[in-house]
Structure formats: C-alpha cells, structure tokens
C-alpha cells in the first residue's frame, strides 16, 4: 500500500474513557491534497479523534496509517515530527515570545559557536509567513498580535515541520469574517502545495466553501463520508442529529409592552461613543457585531462587570447604580457571559450549586445555607429547562456544552432576573441544544423578561430578535427590523462597508 491515494487512514479505531465509549470502530481515510471536513455534535468524538491523531491520547484498538505505513504516536512531539500538525482553538503558543521564537521554540537555529542565530531564524520565519500575504510583526510578543495573526504564526510553525497533514480545530470560532476569508485563501494555497487539510467546524456553510470531502461523526461512530458536492446542509444536519431538525426558530406570540431597561448615553471601557438602547418587557433585542465590535464591553457595562464612566442605566424608570455583578443581580439584571467555562460556571461545583449560586444569600437561614430549599429550587429549574444530568450533585464539568449553557440559563431564571443579557448563548453548542436554547430564550421573553441577545451568528439574531442593533468598532451603528432587512445589509453595516 506504499502508493496509496490516502495520506492518512484510521482503521477500526476505538477509544474509551471511564464510562464513555468516545470512539467506536471509527474508520476514516483522508486523500492526499484534499480538504477533508469533520462535523458532528459536541461529544460526537471529533476532539478525541483529533487528539489521537495529534498523539495526545493513545488508542485502545485499531490502526493509524500515514502514507500507508502503520504508525503509533507516543507524544504530540512525535506526531508533529512525522508530519501531522494540529491547530487547536486555543493556540499552543507562548504569548510572551515573538513570532520567530514561537516558530523555532525547542529547535532554535544556532551558528557554529552554539549561539542562537536570530538573524537566520528571522529570515526563515519571514519566508514561512510572507506567502500568506498578511503583515505580521516579528519583533513583538505575539499576545500583541490579533488572533488571526497568531493563527498565521501557528500555521507557519506547523509548515516549518514540513507537515503533510494540517488539522484546523474550529478556527472560525475566534476569527472575524474578514480573517476567515483570508484563512480560506490560505487553505486553498496549502492544498495547491500538496498539503492535506482536516477542517473541523460547527458552521456548515464553511464546509461548503472549502471542503472536498466531509465525514460526519455521531456518538463516537462514523455516520458517513461523502464528497461535499453531493450533500446539502439539511442532509448534514440530519446525519449529525440522526433526525430531522427544522432550522426554524420558535414562533413568538406575545408582543413587547412597557419599557424595562433604558441605557442612556453610556460610556464605558471599550466603547468608543455613547451607547443608548431600550429593552421592553417581553422583547428580544438582538445585537449583532463581529468580534471586537464592543458588544461584550457594552454587556459588561450594563451588568456591572466594568464601570460605567458616565451615562445612565434605568430599570422601569428607576435609575440604577450598578458597581458590580452582585449589584446588577440584586436589581434583576443578569449576564450569560461569552465564555461559559471561565465566566459562566464554576466547573467543579455541582449542578445544584451552580444553579443557585446568585441566590445563596437569599436562601440562608440563621447564617446557614438552606440545602433543602437549594435543591428544591435547583430541581425545579433543571426540570423546567430540561437539563440532562446524572443528578443535581453531578459536577457541571461533566455535562455537554449545551447542558452547561442551560445550567447558566437556569441560574438566571432562578434568580428572578428581569433583564437577561445573553452574550453568544449558543457558542460551542451543538445544533440540537441550540434549538432548545432558542426555545428557552423565547419562553423567557414570553414570560415577560427583557432580553438582549448578542451574537455573531446573523441567522440567530434575525430569527429570534424583535429589533436588531448593529455594533462596530465600539459604537452602535444602526437599528433594523429583522422582518424588513436581509443578512447582507446587516453584515455590510457591521463590517463598515455601507
């Protein structure tokens, strides 16, 4: 099989973790020079598969062949040297080193005296980076570069190993639309130079842009592998979830009534002009903006995570002085943060404790936490929201992304919030759970909460919101009625084209 057309083959691979069969008899072959996409819901086994390829996990059963030869990776280092590089979502770069140091870390070029030859390293680094057509400052610590530039550095590093296979693990999650376009161009160029690309993404439209083949994983098994040209988006979705899911958004019944939250001429860190907005009872206000548009900063200013420099925030006409998240919560303004794992949940604590965290102080009796009440409240909301968990005392760490997000929602509903700001509520959540979160958001609005929905997914904002604000470069740059506007108009406004 020396001249196999497949650069990489995984044959009947199995991998179990205690209590979970993560990969079950997975056979997966990638043709040389293809862009092979890998899709599946959270927990379908994508990351396990990638980690086996990267040498981070040993496999239990099965064979991995590279260029027709059977290989066993004992460490990520070994996989890298044999020609497989993985670009993870969180880039494995040293933020305090510059691009050159990052690319050559651990194998610095030296002159004949054994002294590191920075000039030569810099030349070679420039040779690696230049073809991408993106300017990258080689002299500053990479933490000062944009995420896209950092990705280029990681990519250059991967290519410096003469990688045969480059794996992209959800690169679009951290990129702006423009940066993503550039990444697609780079992937095309990689393919032309004979490098094979494995591309993982939640966003199906990307797969139709760049993919040659697509493999769908579900519950640790391969559901199918087909050329991208022969499937449609609904086909893929059906394969991923194993049933038909309408891409429809839940219908709205009630109509927004009196004004709840008013933000008047607010300036805060990260906002470049005064921001004003109004949210009514029972209304979903959508905010669309690309990464870095100031949408998270605005949310943080309203909910008390950052300080409002001037301007007023009023709830039902009453002026609020919110100095901290605790103040906001007490007044009924809550934020579901962008980063679920660091900001939304205390991962090591149980479902019950996370659900009730904001109201601990409300359910104490003579200084002691009322555990019965705590469990009772948690039980109510866990049931109401359909959180799938092995029990109330189960650590939220072990729940899937979608169920974790539901716990965050449950927490804010249990705290009797009146205004709920949702910052990217469906990021990193699989499609089935997305639909459920949409339903829960609409339910919350129907029950009379005021909701601010921040998202970089246009479909989501247009499908759910009653009104849409667009943000760009720290300013609110437009308001639209989602029934009367098309995606292109909003995107153009968000990108500053129109």
């Amino acid at each position: 099989m020396a001249d196999s057309q497949y650069v990489l083959e995984m044959d009947k691979v199995c991998k179990s973790f205690p209590g979970v069969k993560a990969l079950d008899d997975v056979t997966f072959s990638v043709k040389r020079g293809d862009c092979h996409c890998l899709v599946g819901q959270n927990g379908a086994g994508k990351s396990t598969l990638i980690k086996i390829l990267a040498g981070a996990y040993p496999l239990d059963l099965g064979v991995v062949r590279l260029d027709g030869r059977q290989v066993t990776f004992r460490s990520p280092d070994q996989a890298l040297r044999m020609g497989i590089s993985v670009l993870y979502q969180e880039l494995a770069l040293n933020p305090y080193f510059n691009a050159v140091e990052n690319i050559f870390i651990g194998r610095e070029l030296s002159n004949r005296w054994g002294i590191i030859d920075y000039e030569r390293m810099k030349r070679e680094a420039a040779d690696l980076i230049d073809p991408f057509g993106v300017h990258v400052n080689l002299n500053v610590p990479i933490r000062e570069l944009s995420v896209a530039q950092q990705q280029i550095v990681a990519l250059a590093k991967a290519l410096s190993f003469d990688s045969k296979v480059v794996v992209f693990d959800e690169p679009s999650a951290v990129l702006t639309t423009e940066e993503l376009e550039r990444l697609f161009a780079i992937i095309m160029r990689l393919k032309q130079s004979g490098v094979t690309v494995i591309y993982i993404s939640h966003r199906l439209e990307e797969i139709f842009r760049i993919g040659d083949m697509v493999t769908v994983l579900r519950d640790g098994r391969v559901v199918g592998t087909t050329p991208v040209a022969e499937v449609t988006q609904p086909d893929l979705v059906r394969m991923m979830v194993g049933r038909d899911v309408g891409m429809e958004f839940p219908a709205r019944k009630g109509c927004p009534s009196e004004t709840y939250l008013e933000v008047a001429n607010v300036r805060a860190p990260g906002l470049h002009s005064e921001a004003s907005l109004v949210v009514r009872k029972g209304e979903i206000l959508g905010i669309f903006g690309l990464v870095g548009s100031g949408r998270t900063e605005l949310a943080h200013a309203i909910a008390g995570m950052s300080r409002v420099e001037y301007g007023e925030i009023r709830l039902k006409g009453e002026r609020l002085s919110i100095q901290s998240p605790a103040d906001g919560i007490r007044k009924g303004v809550a934020l579901l943060p962008e980063n679920r794992k660091d900001e939304g949940l205390v991962l090591g604590m149980s479902v019950a404790e996370n659900t009730t965290m904001p109201i601990w102080r409300r359910i104490q009796k003579v200084g002691l936490l009322d555990r019965r009440e705590l469990r009772c409240v948690a039980d109510t909301y866990v049931n109401k929201l359909g959180v799938k968990t092995a029990g109330l005392d189960y650590p939220v760490r072990n729940l899937s992304g979608g169920n974790q997000q539901k716990v965050v929602l449950a927490k804010w509903l249990a705290a009797n919030s009146q205004v709920l700001i949702l910052d990217e509520p469906t990021r990193g959540v699989d499609i089935g759970a997305k639909m459920e979160i949409y339903r829960l958001v609409v339910d919350a609005a129907e029950q009379g909460l005021g909701i601010v929905l921040i998202s970089s997914e246009l479909g989501e904002v247009l499908g759910l919101a009653d009104r849409v604000l667009v943000m760009r470069a720290g300013c609110i740059v437009g308001e639209f009625d989602p029934r009367e506007v098309d995606q292109e108009t909003i995107l153009a406004r968000a990108m500053g084209v129109a």
């Binding site: 379908a44 049933r243 998240p325 936490l369």
Partner: protein
C-alpha cells in the same frame, strides 16, 4: 450521548456507579495512610498506645492544627499565606507586651531579657487581651487580603512581604530576646487540662468544629469553594469575590495569632523566633489533607488528619530514636508521597 425529546425532564445519563475497593482506597487514602502509620507506631513501640503518648501526640499537633485550619480557607481560594509563622510569634510577643501595660513597645537596642521584660501589669482582663491579640492577627490578614485583592499582588509575594515585616515587628517589640513570664490565665491556655484533654487540644477541636461548620453549611463557606473553583464565574454570579478573599486571610491571621497565644502560654514566654517554618508545616498539612493547591476542593477534616500524619511521623521517629536530621528526610518524603497519591486521585 443518548437521544432525548424536547420537554423531557431530568434524564439520568449514567447510573451512579458503585465504588470498587480500589476506588475506595484512593478516595480515603489519607485515612489509610493514617491507619498504616498508627499500626507501625504500635508495632515499633509498646508505649505508643498509652494515653500519655497519645495526648502528647495531639498536643504536639494542636498548634499546627489550629494554624492549618485557617490555612485551609486560604488555600481553598487558591491562595497561600506565608505570614502565619510570623503572626504566631508576634501574637505571643504582643500579648506579653499588653500584659506589661503597653500597647506599643519598641526595643531598638538589644538588652537582656530580664532588664527589659518588666513587671507583669495586665491592663486588660484575659479574654479582652486574647481577643485583642487575635484581632491584631486578623489585622495582618486584612493587610494580606487587601494586597491580594486591591493591589492584585500574587498571594505568595504579598504574604512573603508581611511574613518578613511581621517577624521584624516581633523582634522589635521584644528587643530581640524572649519575654519571660505570663499571667496564670495565659499559662492555663497552654498547659491546663480539661479532664484528660490538654487545653490546646480542646481549643483545636473547637476551632475544627467551627471551621467545618462554616465551610460546609454556611453561604460564606460555599463562596470560598466557588471562588477557588472559578473566581471569574463566581464574581459574575454575584459573589463578592474580593470580600471572600479578604475574609480568608483575616481568618488565617486570627487563627495563627490564637495558636501563638496558646504556645506563649505553654512556654510561659514570648519568643520572637518562635514559629519559623510553621507556614510550611501548615501548608503541608493542608496538602496532605487533600485540598487542591489550586483551590476549590478540599476539607478541613482532611487538614486535621494531615496535621496528625505530620505529628505521627515525628512521633514514630522519636520513639525509634531516629536522630532529628534524618527525621526531616523522612518527613519530606512522606509529604511528597501523600501529595502524589492525592494527585493520582484527583486526576482520575
């Protein structure tokens, strides 16, 4: 992942698995270590299981036991407190000073102990004097907490600074020498008996129970775990993380001062050199007790067991006449072994 329908309520994904013997052993390895050490002790020495030796053992452990109870709070939030050994010493010196009628007493010149000690002249009744001393320990903790939260210093650096400064304060108050002599009440705190129980052990037990109740059953206790498990998430959930962190350093300082008072009573002297290295013993007890150094997980009962393990090691080695220097080697290895086992449990 199992299929499920909309509107379905809680679904049990995995039935609660029963623990195997191996898992049980890992879960309770600390208590197994304790049992093994006790067995070894009883084999190597006939005297071990005498009431006398056992109370002595607990007495030796009680000082570290009280300090490490406070340290547990700090480590649960992901911090550390290096200043406890200095606070321990300063508390004794401070109490000796107020028992001689002063609140401030700076002895810049080295004089002999007897010249400078002065007559006992208790200006405050004993409970008030002890409370004041403990409050001063809390004050040092407050400084630590403010440095960590408001000045955003790493706990290691902040408490290293106060450790050195407070040690200097103890020497300055005492003029470099021990201050001998306390009132009867203070001596009772260190040497008294409550039936079979030495007073320091009784104090330790009370501290232990109170700390256990706080950590397990109060909102503040759960907030300590939440802050240690994910500070940003806790803050975003409305927990005033800074206040929680300040509070844990205050508690740690107060308990270190309380232990210092008891020790001063026991020695019937305030020794400014006392307690050097106690911060490390306290951290070791917490670590052996299974509390994660990164915070968020652990218990004060584990810490107590950790303190007893440390005391037992010394006790066995003493009973078998191992000289003090090799004793340290053994102690170090046992600390490493215990923490290694804990790591093994927590990564499973």
């Amino acid at each position: 992942m199992t299929q499920f329908e909309k509107n379905e309520s809680v679904v049990t994904l995995r039935p609660g698995r029963r623990m195997g013997i191996g898992q049980l052993m890992l879960e309770y390895n600390l208590y197994i270590i304790l049992a093994v050490l006790l067995t070894i002790s009883s084999i190597v020495s006939r005297e071990f299981f005498t009431a006398n030796n056992l109370t002595n053992l607990l007495l030796r452990c009680s000082f570290n036991g009280i300090i490490s109870s406070g340290m547990t709070f700090v480590i649960l939030t992901g911090g550390t407190d290096l200043s406890v050994g200095s606070v321990f010493a300063f508390a004794g010196v401070f109490l000796a000073t107020i028992q001689r009628g002063y609140f401030f007493r700076f002895m810049p010149e080295l004089t002999t102990a007897f010249e400078q000690a002065g007559e006992l002249n208790p200006i405050l009744p004993l409970p008030a004097a002890v409370a004041l001393t403990v409050a001063v320990g809390g004050l040092v903790g407050l400084v630590n907490g403010l440095l960590v939260t408001k000045a955003k210093m790493p706990p290691f650096a902040a408490t290293l600074g106060t450790m050195v400064a407070v040690r200097g304060l103890a020497f300055t108050y005492a003029g470099g020498f021990p201050i001998p002599g306390f009132t009867e009440g203070v001596k009772w705190l260190g040497t008294g008996q409550l039936g079979m129980l030495p007073v320091p052990v009784a104090i330790w037990i009370v501290v232990l129970v109170v700390v256990w109740v706080i950590l397990k059953f109060t909102v503040f206790g759960r907030e300590v775990y939440a802050v240690g498990g994910g500070e940003t998430a806790a803050h975003f959930s409305g927990i005033r993380a800074d206040r929680v962190k300040i509070a844990v350093y205050v508690i740690s300082g107060m308990l270190a001062a309380l232990a210092g008072v008891v020790m001063a009573g026991r020695m019937n002297a305030a020794e400014p050199r006392e307690g050097a290295g106690y911060e490390l013993d306290a951290i070791a007890a917490v670590a052996i007790g299974g509390t994660l150094m990164s915070g968020g997980k652990g218990s004060v009962l584990g810490t107590a067991a950790g303190a007893i393990v440390l005391g037992l090691i010394a006790n066995i080695l003493n009973l078998t006449n191992v000289p003090p220097y090799p004793q340290q080697i053994a102690k170090g290895l046992i600390i490493l072994g215990a923490v290694l086992m804990q790591r093994f449990v927590s990564t499973r």
